[in-house]
Structure formats: structure tokens, C-alpha cells
Amino acid sequence: MYDSLNEICLAAEKTSRAFWQIIMEDDCAEQGITEEQSMENMRRMYAAMKQSDAHYEPDRLSGSGLVGTEAAKLRNRRNEGKMIADRFTADIMIRALRVSESNACMKRIVAAPTAGSCGVLPAVLITAQKKYDLDDDKIMEAVFVAGGIGGVIANRASISGAEGGCQAEIGSASAMAAGALTYLMGGDCREICNSAALALKSLLGLACDPVAGLVEVPCVKRNVIGAVNAVTATDMSLAGIMSKIPPDEVIDAMRGVATHMGSAIRETGEGGLATTPTGIDIRNMISMAQNNN
């Protein structure tokens, strides 16, 4: 995997190829597979994302009972025509909830880049595919774009909440989705990377503070902001609004912020929302319920 978005752009520009092709060729070289195999892998991942969305159960609650049914509530509101957001944004919000609630309910999802942030990319890709009537091959190319961006973030910084906080999970997922959506909207390499930078910048510093240590509160709802943030970053990028800090430097900044984060807000459940009075009550309730079992 590449460790610089700028290098990917240079490689693409030098050989007049698309961003996604550079990522695919790198994947082939790294895993010793053919282009067909690499493309098949990404097609398969997108198909699995669609299934994770399709298999949502509106009545199901997670084991702790903390999450579940939220996507159904939002869908009802949309169907009543009462949502402030337009249809596209509403659908993205609903899908992000569907997939991440399914994850919390121990259903099958695609980690992208992680299980906790699994709702962001499918929400953006599936909704864009429906709105713009895109075929699966085009989306597959966008999945490569997302993977390339995630790879650079993993190499330069981190995609793990325990290492980098939530900025490394929802932030990374959002940057990946922003780049993918920008590609689908006709953006070139520089616009793709700029979009990723704008998305990541907006989520820098986000703490990983799960209540009772579970991938539920606030993780499920943060998938919504990660997905919607990808849309706003894409619109800004395609309007020509530039991140004044270059994309690779934004990723480096995320790594820097992570080093300033105490372990209390890196997935330990010992800070942030997890240690609010209500967060502690919930944790105690869950551990009591467990001991009674």
C-alpha cells in the first residue's frame, strides 16, 4: 500500500491512469494476484456491503439493548416527508444507521476500515449508486479509491480507535467515502485527495469513548456524521474549495493529535461519554445484568 496520497496522484498523472487503477495495480503486486482477482475481491466486498444494508432488522436490539430500531425511526420520519435533509442526505443517514446497527446486533458487515465504522462507506456508495444510476463496476472502482485512501491513512497514521481515537475510525472512513464519492462525481486525483483531506480535517480530534466499552454508543450514530461529512467534503472539493493543508499533512496531523490523546479516550471506555454519570450508570447496569446470567 502507498504511504502518500501525493505519490498516488503522481503515479496516476505520470502514466495517465485513474487513481483507482494505481491502487489496483499496487494490490496485484502486493498480494501476487491478477487484476481480475483484485477487481473480483472489491466487487465481492461491495456486494457484501449491499447485503449488510439489505438484511437490517428494524425491530432488533443489540445484546445490551442500547441500540437498534433507530434507522427504522428515521425512515418513518422520511416517509412522512418531515425530514429537513433532502432525500439523498436522508437516505445516507438511514443507511449508515442500518449497517452500523446491524453490526452492533452481531450481523454480517464489511469492516471498512473497521467494524465500528462499517456504516459510512456503504451508506455513501449505495445511495449514490441509486441516485445516479451507476453500475456495479463503477462503484467497484470507487471502492478501490476508498481503499487506497484508507491504506495511506493506515500507513501514515492509524485506522484503529485504540491507537488513534475515533478520528482514526470514523474520520478515516469518512475520508475514504469522500474520496470515493468525489470519484463517482467525476473528480480527478487531486480533487479526490482534497475531498479526503477536507473530510478528515473536520473530524480531527474525535475521541473514542464507547459507553461500557461497546461498539454501540456513540459509535452507531457517529457513522451518520461520517457519511454526511463525506457529502459536504465532496461538494466543497468539486466547487474548487481547497484544503489549505495538503492531504498527506492532514493525515500526519491526525497522527500527531493521536499522540496527544490519553488512553482514556482511545477505546478503553475510561473517558469522554463513557464516564459521564449516565455512561457509568449504563456500564454498571450492563455488568449487573451479566453477573446475573
Binding site: A48, G63, T114
Partner: protein, 240 residues
Amino acid sequence: MNLSDIIGPVMVGPSSSHTAGAVKIGTVSRKLFGEKITKAEILFHGSFLSTGKGHGTDRAIVAGLMGLSVDDDRIPDSFQEAEKRGFDFTLSGTDLGENAHPNSVKLILHGENDKKMEIVAASVGGGRINIVELDGISANFSGDMATLIVHNMDTPGHVAKVTGLLHVLSINIATMQLYRSKRGGDAVMVIECDSEVPEAHRKWLAEQDGIIRVTYLSQIPEELSPEDLAHQYREKKVED
């Protein structure tokens, strides 16, 4: 790490470290044991102990020990599946010390003829794992490569014997580590290889003087029953 770690895996939620990683610890341990497990003692440490239940870590490890994969939809119901299969296990907590990774588990696996194996493993993020200890001696491998583990007496010549064998078989070594309990005591070699070491040669090695035991982790997938396959992820047409 490669592209498949960024986009993927397809897995049963909710956590790549606490669920998918736990399944993988189970499957790798099952392969290391190499024969039917009659009883598994599962001892959770740290975050695995405190938040494992909510993440389904307990059910995930049991699923893995039975050979289910990370995308098997029976993971949430693995305890019922274990009962159906007569798979015997116990769950408890332990303290592996402050140097242990927070997502650690100790497994004591029992088999027929008093065969026993102790494994300490950690889930290190993104579904990747590390086997930290094998039968009380340090180890350090990911389970992602064909891995040859040789327990031998701490006397000269054993490394040459093992690497000589790999040389004859044209098997390339990716990583190699040596540990010992104490000078002249038990020693262990952990060798990650780029290709599989054939069974006949592993047997030959196990019979050599000074070699106590040869353990092997193969990357050849287990043969799955049609029922197992039916519970894995398959592409289906999505209805709108």
C-alpha cells in the same frame, strides 16, 4: 496489512478486535492443536474480560475453536452450536500481568490421550492476532503464514538441523525467532515460512534427537461441510 484489511473482511460484528480477532484466535489455536479438542478452558484477560461479553468475544472464541469462520452467521449462537456438537468448554477470567496486551486470552486445550496445549494469544486490532505464548514459552507470530514451531532441548545443532531441512525442501523462511526457558533447558524455534512444510518431513523432524515436539500451523483451509459453507457469506441478489 494490505487492501483486503482496509476494505474487509466480511465479518460478523460488532468489533474487529473483540469479535473477528477472537474468532481467529480460536481457529488458529484449533489448527495448532491439530486434532480433536475434547475440552477447551478459555480464560479472558483485560478488556477481553471486562467488555468481552458485550462484544460477543466469548461466543466468537468458541465459534473459532469449532472451526467457524469470521463471517459465519452462527457466531452469535455458537454456544447452542457447541451443545449440538458436544463441544465442551469453560469460560473464566484471569490476570496475565500488566505486560499482557489488553485483548488477551489464555486457552488450555485438551485432547485424547492426555494431549494438552496452552496458548496465550492477543487480538491486536483490525482482526489481526498474535500468538504470544505456546506451552509456557514465548512465541510471536500472526497465524497468517505457514508456521513451524519446534520445541527442542537447548543444546547445539538443532537450528542447523531445522533450517537444513527447509533448505533441502526449498522452503523460504519469512521470519525466525528463538526462545528458551533457561540455558540448557527447553527451547523453541518459531519459523514463519512462505510455503507449506509437508507432513512427512515434520514427522521426520519430530523423531530427531533432542527435538521434543513439532507443532505446525498450516494455511491450507480446512475442508468444510456443506452445512458450514451455507452459513458463510455468499453473494445473493439484493432485493430493493
